[in-house]
């Protein structure tokens, strides 16, 4: 028995020595490359989000290496191919991505693997909001840059030196809806919306799946109501948050109906959930087709494909009582359109026959964010110092596929650049079964409260 242990110990010692011999050259090599990793949801229930994101980031890295970045930094940064231009050197980018299979534990396993085995200096993801805080506790103490373009959680940036959210959050979105419901009749009329749309409506409701994104969204919804100074009533405690895997939505909608809301914000983003809730709402007296309630929803509700699917199920979203938002500017300027026209064929040629399909706002946002980050690394002048990278990146803007001069939000109280995209929300409606942009958008007025910027997330 003792000799067996001896053999095992000798073997372990040998393995450790071998690992040590190999580790030396690897660390030296790390100086000559920029290691960039990602954790994406590529399979499982939420994969439709991660697949777009991963495809776009991978394409962005490839385009950067080829010297064909399409989008431009402000002030300008070179994109000459071969990698990052740091001083007179060209540093190749090493890209590694893992699938979290829509599971929190796998997300964290992948983060640990990227940190410990792949030695990534910056990590894209994890996307799943429920894994964000755990990932932050691993990444932040080590000063590893964390990036996400489809996360939607304040946990990505609030109180975090290295966290970056290159999209809006559930809170910012709800602030946008809050601004909309407080609009003056004159401004509504100016944009072709019934000026009496919100007249006589007082009580608000909220329904969504029980997850961090919607919990924060409901809190943002309450903040928006408080900001409005008492025109509406809503408390976070009223939120109807159904569990993951819910099949029968009847009792959840019944609970919502019991509150007798005049306006309901449905913060679901999985088609079958949304359709089941909308069908049940009509049955239980929360009818958005006849104006018993106004139904507000997110950017998934306002996708044309969703409106089409809903129509097939007998749901009419063109009643004038269904509104939502998009983060992507529906009215692009010429320069942006030219960039999009160059990008879309490249994306479609690469992914058109795969499950990621043709280009959409989801992949374009992620592409912008990835190139923007790589420009930021270049701008820092030192790809081995994450503090310098963060500072340089946050002070750089980008003329991207989503529009000109995308920038990070500056805290008004301290003047610091945060890692949160200074996102705009565009109000969208549905008429004649087609989604349309109302011409109303918000940005500066959305950025308030501790969930948008603060030193840590409130409990």
């Amino acid at each position: 028995m003792a000799s067996s242990f001896g053999v095992i110990r000798a073997g372990l010692l040998g393995a450790a020595l071998c690992a040590g011999l190999v580790a030396g050259p690897q660390l030296a090599k790390a100086e000559d490359t920029f290691k960039f990793g990602g954790v994406f949801t590529l399979s499982g229930p939420a994969s439709f989000l991660g697949l777009f994101e991963e495809a776009a980031v991978r394409l962005a890295v490839e385009q950067f290496m080829k010297g064909d970045c399409i989008v431009e930094a402000v002030p300008p940064q070179p994109c000459e191919g071969g990698g990052l231009k740091i001083g007179d050197k060209v540093i190749p980018i090493e890209w590694t991505a893992y699938d979290d299979v829509s599971e929190d534990k796998k997300s964290i396993d992948a983060v640990i693997r990227l940190v410990e085995q792949d030695e990534a200096r910056a990590i894209w993801g994890p996307r799943m909001n429920s894994a964000l805080l755990s990932a932050a506790s691993i990444l932040d103490p080590q000063g590893i840059i964390s990036i996400c373009a489809i996360c939607s959680s304040p946990a990505m940036t609030v109180g975090r030196k290295y966290g970056h959210d290159i999209t809006d959050t559930g809170v910012i979105e709800k602030h946008g809806m809050g601004e909309f419901i407080h609009e003056t009749p004159e401004r509504l009329a100016e944009h072709g919306i019934d000026p009496a749309l919100f007249d006589g409506r007082k009580k608000l409701g909220f329904i969504g799946r029980n997850e961090l994104y919607t919990v924060h969204g409901s809190i943002g919804w309450q903040e928006a109501v408080e900001k409005g100074g008492g025109r509406y009533e809503y408390q976070h405690d009223w939120a109807v948050l159904y569990p993951f895997g819910t099949t029968d939505f009847a009792p959840h909608v019944a609970k919502l109906a019991e509150q007798d809301p005049d306006i309901v914000l449905m913060d679901a983003y999985i088609f079958p959930d949304m359709l089941a809730i909308m069908n049940e709402m009509k049955k239980q007296g929360l009818n958005y087709e006849t104006g018993e309630i106004i139904l507000l929803g997110n950017d998934v509700l306002m996708l044309q494909i969703f409106v089409d699917v809903a129509k097939d199920q007998g749901i009419n979203m063109s009643s004038g009582y269904v509104w939502g938002w998009q983060e992507h500017n529906p009215a692009q300027d010429e320069a942006t359109l030219a960039r999009v026209e160059k990008y879309v064929p490249i994306y479609n040629a690469k992914y058109g026959d795969t499950e990621v399909g043709n280009s959409s706002p989801f992949d374009r946002g992620a592409y912008d964010a990835a190139i923007w980050f790589l420009y930021g690394v270049q701008a820092s002048g030192d790809h081995t110092d994450n503090d310098k990278i963060v500072e340089a990146w946050r002070n750089l803007k980008i003329n991207g596929l989503r529009g000109p001069t995308n920038e990070f939000f500056t805290r008004p109280d301290t003047g610091e650049k945060t890692g949160q995209l200074f996102a705009t929300e565009y109000i969208i409606g549905v008429a004649d079964e087609k989604v349309f942009y109302t011409g109303i958008s918000y940005r500066d007025e959305l950025f308030y409260g501790p969930y948008v910027y603060g030193d840590k997330l409130p409990k």
Binding site: S43, G245, T247, A250, P251, A254, K255, F271, P272, M274
Partner: protein, 291 residues
Amino acid sequence: MTAFAQQLIYGASYGMNLAVAAAGLALIFGVYRVINLAHGQLIMLGGFVAYVVATQLGTHFFVGFFAAMIVMGLLSIVLENAVFRFLQRRPLTDQLLASLGLYMVLGTTALRIWGDFEARPIAMPGEDWALTAGEIRIDGARLVTIAITLVLFASLYFVVYRTHLGRTMRATAQGEETAALMGIKKRRVAAIVFFLGGALGGAAGAMLGALFNVRPDMGFQPLLMALVIIIFGGMGSIAGSIVAGLILGILYNLTVFYVGSKLGDLVPFLVLLAILMIRPQGLFGLPDRNA
């Protein structure tokens, strides 16, 4: 009072669907002594078969419904032959792990084939009308599923308690070796039991899919509920499945409505804990004489 009555109706309707799902699980456990976690995915796949046949091929709901029952019954026989017959005399943990593996394989396969983004409706008789009494309403589609459930249970009762086939199943459940000595073919009984269990899973999937859309994760909550139902009702008891399904469905709805939307899933597990402490054999089960 109206709200309470309405929740009773919703809960009873959902509970009946869950009872069908649980009956398949209970039947297989009652005769074969295997807990088949992959049953949740048979429910989901049953929904997809019904969707493909009824919606995509443009046939009637009942054509899709029976197709779901037959295909899932046959798939269940395949699973018995390929996996479960090797596990019958193995420890419970082996059975659970193997069936959990099957659950994941079937779920991932469905996701790869169909994805999760799209909604897949199945047109169902009764979906355009409802019975109303004052402020209480009962959707026609829910009534149809309740009627189907009652027919399924009556048929199952007839097969199990009024036919020679049922006697062979019950004899095998009581003593496999004794039954074999009496000339009952074990493999044949296993095939029939798995077929019926799978078919009930397929039926539950077709009904749940028609009521709430078909989706790759639709087997998860019914599976959890079905596991509690078979313990609550008494392991292997079909009558127990019906009663426990009804109680659990109603409790789930009342909890969501009166206590909190986030707490609905807590109820089955509180019931499970209570049952295990107070009456471990379940409502209709007999005490374990070996204990």
